[in-house]
C-alpha cells in the first residue's frame, strides 16, 4: 500500500461527505497502541483526518454497514475482502448495493499488530482487489491466488481417530464467546439459533459437546456463503484454526456443484446448498 493512501482516502471521504454523496464513511483510525487500528465511522467532513489506511488495518469493516442501514448511503473503503462482504450482504438481502458507496483499493496484505508478521488470512487471500467498487483509489495490485487448502489436505489425509482428536482438541478450547459469529459477514441473521432459548438448540453450559455443536453448526450455516475473509480465525481469542472447516466446505462445494466463490459473487442463482431445482436428480428418493 502506498504511503499517501491515507491522505487520498481522507480527501475522498471529505469530498463524498461534503457533497452529500454519503451520509457517513467507514474506515479505520489509530487505536491505543502503536500498530493498533480500530474501525471508525466518520460522520462529518471535519473528522476525516482521523482516518488511517495502511498495512495495520487488520479488521474487516464491511459488516458495520448493517448498523447504519436506513441512514442514507454508506461510504466505505473496500479492499477485496470488504467488497466480497458487501456482495454477501447484498445477496443475503441485508443491504442493497445502491446503499453503499465503495472506494476501492488494491491490497497487498495486512500485518499482525503483535510482531508484524503477515496475517494468515492475507496470505491465503484470493481477492486482493475489490470485486465491486464505485471508484478506485490507486492502482490495482497483482493477484497471486495462493493455494489455500494445504491444511485441508493435511487433515483429510489423517486417520479417522486422528482427525477426531484434532477437532476435539480444537473445540475443547472454544470459549463460546461467539466472536467468530460477530465478525462474520455471512452471520447476518437477526437472531441466531444459538440464542434461541425456548427451543434450546445450544446448551448454555460449557463442554466439548456444546462447543463442537456450536462450531459445526456455525460452519454449516455459513458453509455455502463463506467469503473466505478469515475474520473468524483472526478474531478467535483462543486461536482456533476455524478456517480449515470453511476451506473444506468451499472445496467440497466447488467439486460437487461447480466453480464457486463465496456465493454472492455471481448472479448464477441461489447459493448451492439452499436451492431447489426440478432437474436435480433425486437418486436417493
Amino acid at each position: 500500500m502506498t504511503a499517501n493512501l491515507t491522505q487520498q482516502i481522507r480527501d475522498r471521504a471529505r469530498d463524498l461527505l461534503q457533497s452529500g454523496t454519503v451520509s457517513c464513511f467507514i474506515a479505520w483510525e489509530p487505536a491505543r497502541f502503536e500498530h493498533w487500528r480500530t474501525p471508525v465511522t466518520i460522520e462529518s467532513p471535519d473528522e476525516v483526518d482521523r482516518i488511517v489506511v495502511d498495512e495495520w488495518c487488520d479488521q474487516l469493516i464491511a459488516k458495520y454497514a448493517l448498523q447504519r442501514r436506513g441512514d442514507g448511503r454508506i461510504g466505505m473503503v473496500a479492499r477485496g475482502c470488504e467488497s466480497r462482504a458487501v456482495e454477501r450482504l447484498v445477496a443475503d438481502r441485508q443491504v442493497s448495493r445502491q446503499d453503499v458507496y465503495l472506494v476501492g483499493v488494491g491490497c497487498t496484505g495486512m500485518l499482525d499488530r503483535d510482531g508484524g508478521a503477515p496475517l494468515k488470512k492475507c496470505e491465503e487471500c484470493q481477492r486482493r482487489n475489490p470485486v465491486t467498487y464505485d471508484e478506485m483509489v490507486g492502482e490495482t495490485v497483482e493477484e497471486p491466488r495462493p493455494y489455500r487448502f494445504g491444511e485441508v489436505d493435511r487433515i483429510e489425509s489423517m486417520e479417522p481417530e486422528q482427525r477426531r482428536a484434532f477437532f476435539d482438541r480444537m473445540f475443547s478450547q472454544c470459549a463460546m464467546c461467539f466472536a467468530c459469529r460477530n465478525v462474520c459477514p455471512a452471520c447476518n441473521c437477526r437472531s441466531c439459533f444459538a440464542d434461541a432459548e425456548r427451543v434450546g438448540w445450544l446448551e448454555k453450559d460449557f463442554g466439548l459437546d456444546a462447543s463442537r455443536y456450536w462450531g459445526l453448526m456455525r460452519a454449516f450455516h455459513t458453509g455455502d456463503r463463506c467469503i473466505e475473509c478469515g475474520e473468524c480465525e483472526r478474531a478467535c481469542p483462543m486461536g482456533l484454526p476455524l478456517m480449515t472447516l470453511m476451506h473444506k466446505q468451499v472445496r467440497d462445494i466447488d467439486r460437487l456443484f461447480g466453480p464457486y466463490e463465496g456465493g454472492g459473487l455471481s448472479d448464477a442463482g441461489p447459493d448451492p446448498l439452499r436451492s431447489y431445482r426440478t432437474d436435480d436428480v433425486e437418486e436417493f428418493m
Binding site: 443475503d92 438481502r93 441485508q94 447476518n188 441473521c189 437477526r190 437472531s191 441466531c192 439459533f193 434461541a196 425456548r198 427451543v199 434450546g200 438448540w201 450455516h221 442463482g269 441461489p270 447459493d271 439452499r274 436451492s275 431447489y276 426440478t278 432437474d279 436428480v281 433425486e282 437418486e283
Partner: protein, 660 residues
C-alpha cells in the same frame, strides 16, 4: 396438562414382542401423564369407543396412542377425536411401536424398553402440541388436461361425462398423440385409428370439453382448487369460426414439399394443412415457417380459393388466463433420437433403417405406401426384414437404463404384420429379453413365433450397407456365434423418452421428475396418479413408459380423483404448515429459494420493533401452496420458520427425552 397414553396390542402384532401392560404402567410415571390403558385393537370400534370415553371421563387434554405407523391410522384417530370428543384433533401423537419396534425386534425385553422410549418421546412431543385448525378452501370445478394423446382424451372424456368442464390443451394442431399414428394395436390387432378417432370426435363434440390445439401452458400460479393458468394459443392463420374444413386450400397450396410429421417424414404435406384426414379440430392451420405468403408476402393462394374467407394472415398468438381446480399432466413421450447415439447403425444415413413409428405408417392403409410394405429407398418390397429391440432402452451407456415396456409387444406385432403382408418374407428379431406380461400378451408372442419370426437373442452391434441391402451383425448369445443377416430393411424399436419440454412444464407446475425425466407420482404403489403437488395428476406415458391399456386405465383413475375432488367442492386445508416468526426473519430469502412448491415469498411488512415502527422485508407463507414439507424450516438459519405440528421445540423435547 392431562395426558392420556393408550397402548395397543394389535392382536399379537405388538403384544407378541412388547409387554404392552408394562409400557402402559411405565407411561404413568412420565410428566403430565394422568391416565394410561391398553387395547386389543385400538382402531376397532370398541377400541375407539374406550379411548373416547377415557378422554371424557379423565378430562384428558392431550393423547398419545402407541400403535402402528402414523401413516396407517393417524388420520383415523384424528377423525375419531374430532368427531367424538371435544378435544382438538391435533393434540394427538402416535408412537409407532409396531413397524418401528415390535416388527423389527425379537427380544421381548429390548422391544419393551424401546417401546417405553418411543412412548416417552411422544409424550414429550405432545406436551408441546398446540391446537391447530383447518379451513375449507373452495374448489373451482373445472379441469385442465395438458396433452391430447389417448391419456389426455380419455381423462377429459371421463371428467366431462361427470358433468364438469374440461379444457384439453394440445400443442400440435390435432389431438390424438401417438395412438392415431399407429396402424393396429396389440394384442387384439384392432385398427388403432378405428378406436382412437371416435374418441377424438367424441371429445370434440362433448359440450363440456374445450379443445385448444396449438396451445401450450405459459404459466401456472395458485394451488389445488384454484390454479390460475395462462395459456398461449399459437396463431393458426385460419378463423375456425368461419372455416368449414372443406380442404380446398390444401389442394391448391403451391408449397407441397414439406416432410409430413404425421407420416414420420415418409410423405410430404402442404404449408396449409391438416396433419391427417380425421384430425380434431378438423380444420387446417398454416405452418408459418414454410408459408410463402407469411415468409415473403408473395402467394396468398389459399385466401383466394377459400370459399368462406377464413384465412387470416395477420393472426396473432392469443394469451388467456383461466382458473382451474385440478390439472392433469398427460404430455406423453417422444422416441429417443437414435441417430445421434448409434453411429454403428448408420446414424440415419441409410434410408432403409427406420423406426417402429415409421413402420406403423408404412404398414397403415392410409399411410404413405397405402399399406404395402415398401422400403423407403427404392419402394421395393423387402424380402428380409430385421427388427432390433431395445434400441436406446436398457442401454445406460448410450441411451436410457429403463425398459420402454411396450416395444417387446409391438416388435412382435411388427413381425406379425410384416409376415402377414409379405408371405414369402423372412423376419429376424434381435432381442435382449422378451417381456410379454399382460392379458393375452404371451399368446400373441407365441403366435408371432408360429408365424415364422426368427428370434435371435443378442444386440445388433453394427449395421452396414452391402449391395442394395444392409448387413446386421450381432452375437447370438445363446449359441455364442456371430451372426450376419443380410436385410432389405431394418426396423429399430426405439426407447420412449419424456416429451420435449417436460422439464419446463415440471417447473411451471412445481412437480418432480425422476432421474429418467418422467414425472414422479406421489407414491409408486398407493398414490400412483397423484403428484407431490396437490391437485396435479399424471396420466399415460408422461408418468413412465406404458402401453395403451395401462394408459387408458391410468387416465380413468386420474378422472376419478378429479371427479372426487370436484364432487366435494371444497378441500379441507392441512393445518400442519410452515409458520413464520417475523421478528426473527431477516428476509434473506433462503426459504424462498429452497421451497419446492413456490409457497414462500418476500413481502414488505410494517412492524413494531423496540417500540418503533419499521418497514422490513420478511417472508410470507402462502397457505394454499404450502404442503408442510418442512424444507424451509431447515433452511432457515435463525429458526424463524417452524412447521406447525412438527415444531422445533417439540422435536427438541423428543430428543431430550430420549437422552435422559
Amino acid at each position: 396438562m392431562r395426558i392420556g397414553v393408550f397402548v395397543c396390542h394389535c392382536g399379537s402384532n405388538i403384544a407378541g414382542t412388547v409387554d404392552v401392560e408394562r409400557v402402559a404402567r411405565e407411561a404413568l410415571k412420565l410428566p403430565g401423564v394422568v391416565f394410561s390403558d391398553t387395547n386389543k385393537y385400538t382402531c376397532s370400534a370398541p377400541g375407539q369407543e374406550s379411548v373416547c370415553s377415557a378422554i371424557k371421563e379423565n378430562a384428558l387434554d392431550r393423547v398419545v396412542i402407541a400403535s402402528c405407523s402414523p401413516r396407517m391410522h393417524e388420520a383415523t384417530f384424528r377423525k375419531m377425536i374430532a368427531e367424538k370428543t371435544d378435544l382438538n384433533p391435533y393434540m394427538l401423537e402416535i408412537a409407532n411401536i409396531r413397524e418401528q419396534c415390535s416388527w423389527v425386534h425379537k427380544d421381548r425385553e429390548q422391544g419393551t424398553r424401546k417401546a417405553c422410549d418411543l412412548v416417552a418421546m411422544a409424550v414429550a412431543k405432545v406436551s408441546c402440541d398446540r391446537e391447530l385448525f383447518t379451513t375449507n378452501l373452495p374448489v373451482e370445478r373445472r379441469a385442465l388436461v395438458i396433452g391430447g394423446g389417448i391419456a389426455g382424451i380419455q381423462a377429459a372424456l371421463d371428467i366431462a361425462d361427470a358433468g364438469f368442464p374440461v379444457t384439453l390443451v394440445e400443442r400440435e394442431s390435432s389431438i390424438g398423440g401417438k395412438m392415431v399414428m399407429l396402424d393396429k394395436t396389440f394384442p387384439t390387432m384392432d385398427c388403432s385409428a378405428c378406436i382412437c378417432t371416435p374418441k377424438m370426435s367424441e371429445a370434440a363434440e362433448n359440450p363440456n370439453i374445450e379443445i385448444k390445439s396449438l396451445t401450450e401452458v405459459e404459466s401456472v400460479s395458485g394451488y389445488i382448487g384454484s390454479f390460475d393458468v395462462t395459456l398461449r394459443e399459437k396463431a393458426k392463420y385460419v378463423d375456425y369460426d368461419v372455416c368449414t374444413g372443406c380442404g380446398l386450400c390444401e389442394t391448391k397450396c403451391p408449397t407441397k414439399k414439406i416432410p409430413s410429421e404425421f407420416n414420420q417424414g415418409l410423405s410430404t404435406r402442404t404449408a396449409i394443412y391438416k396433419p391427417f384426414p380425421q384430425a380434431v379440430p378438423s380444420k387446417p392451420t398454416i405452418d408459418a415457417e414454410h408459408c410463402k405468403k407469411l415468409q415473403s408476402g408473395k402467394c396468398g393462394v389459399c385466401e383466394k380459393v377459400c370459399p368462406t374467407g377464413a384465412i387470416r394472415y395477420d393472426d396473432v398468438d392469443r394469451v388467456t388466463t383461466q382458473r382451474y381446480g385440478a390439472i392433469v399432466v398427460a404430455s406423453g413421450y417422444e422416441l429417443i433420437d437414435w441417430t445421434g447415439l448409434y453411429g454403428e447403425y448408420g446414424a440415419g444415413r441409410y434410408p432403409d433403417v427406420i423406426t417402429g413409428l415409421q413402420f406403423e405408417r408404412i404398414v397403415n392403409a392410409s399411410g404413405p405406401t397405402e399399406g404395402h410394405i415398401l422400403r423407403p429407398s427404392d419402394r421395393t418390397e423387402p424380402k428380409t426384414t430385421v427388427i432390433v429391440k431395445c434400441v436406446g432402452s436398457r442401454d445406460p451407456n448410450k441411451g436410457v437404463s429403463y425398459c420402454s415396456r411396450a416395444c417387446c409387444m409391438y416388435a412382435a406385432k411388427h413381425a406379425h404384420q410384416y409376415l402377414d403382408k409379405v408371405p414369402d418374407g423372412t423376419c429376424y428379431v434381435f432381442y435382449m429379453d422378451v417381456r410379454c406380461a399382460g392379458k393375452g400378451y404371451d399368446e400373441f408372442y407365441m403366435r408371432t413365433l408360429q408365424d415364422g419370426a426368427i428370434y435371435v437373442r443378442g444386440r445388433v452391434s453394427k449395421i452396414y450397407p452391402e449391395g442394395d441391402g444392409l448387413v446386421c451383425m450381432g452375437e447370438d448369445t445363446l449359441s455364442g456365434e456371430i451372426v450376419r443377416v443380410k436385410a432389405d430393411m431394418v426396423v429399430l424399436e426405439t426407447a420412449m423418452v419424456p416429451s420435449r419440454g417436460s422439464d419446463v412444464l415440471a417447473s411451471k407446475l412445481n412437480v418432480q421428475r425422476g432421474p429418467e425425466g418422467f414425472f414422479t407420482e406421489a407414491h409408486p404403489k398407493l398414490r400412483p396418479v397423484e403428484t407431490n403437488t396437490a391437485g396435479v395428476y399424471l396420466a399415460g406415458v408422461a408418468q413412465g413408459p406404458k402401453d395403451i391399456p395401462d394408459t387408458v386405465a391410468q387416465a380413468g383413475a386420474v378422472a376419478s380423483k378429479v371427479i372426487g375432488l370436484f364432487a366435494r367442492g371444497q378441500i379441507e386445508s392441512n393445518p400442519m404448515l410452515s409458520k413464520v416468526d417475523v421478528s426473527r426473519c431477516s428476509g434473506c430469502r433462503a426459504c424462498v429459494d429452497v421451497c419446492p412448491y413456490g409457497a414462500l415469498g418476500l413481502v414488505q411488512a410494517n412492524l413494531r420493533e423496540n417500540s418503533r415502527k419499521v418497514t422490513r422485508t420478511v417472508c410470507q407463507v402462502n397457505e394454499g401452496l404450502c404442503q408442510g414439507c418442512g424444507a424451509c424450516s431447515v433452511a432457515c438459519r435463525s429458526g424463524a420458520l417452524d412447521l406447525l405440528g412438527f415444531s422445533d421445540e417439540g422435536i427438541m423435547q423428543e430428543v431430550e427425552m430420549l437422552c435422559q
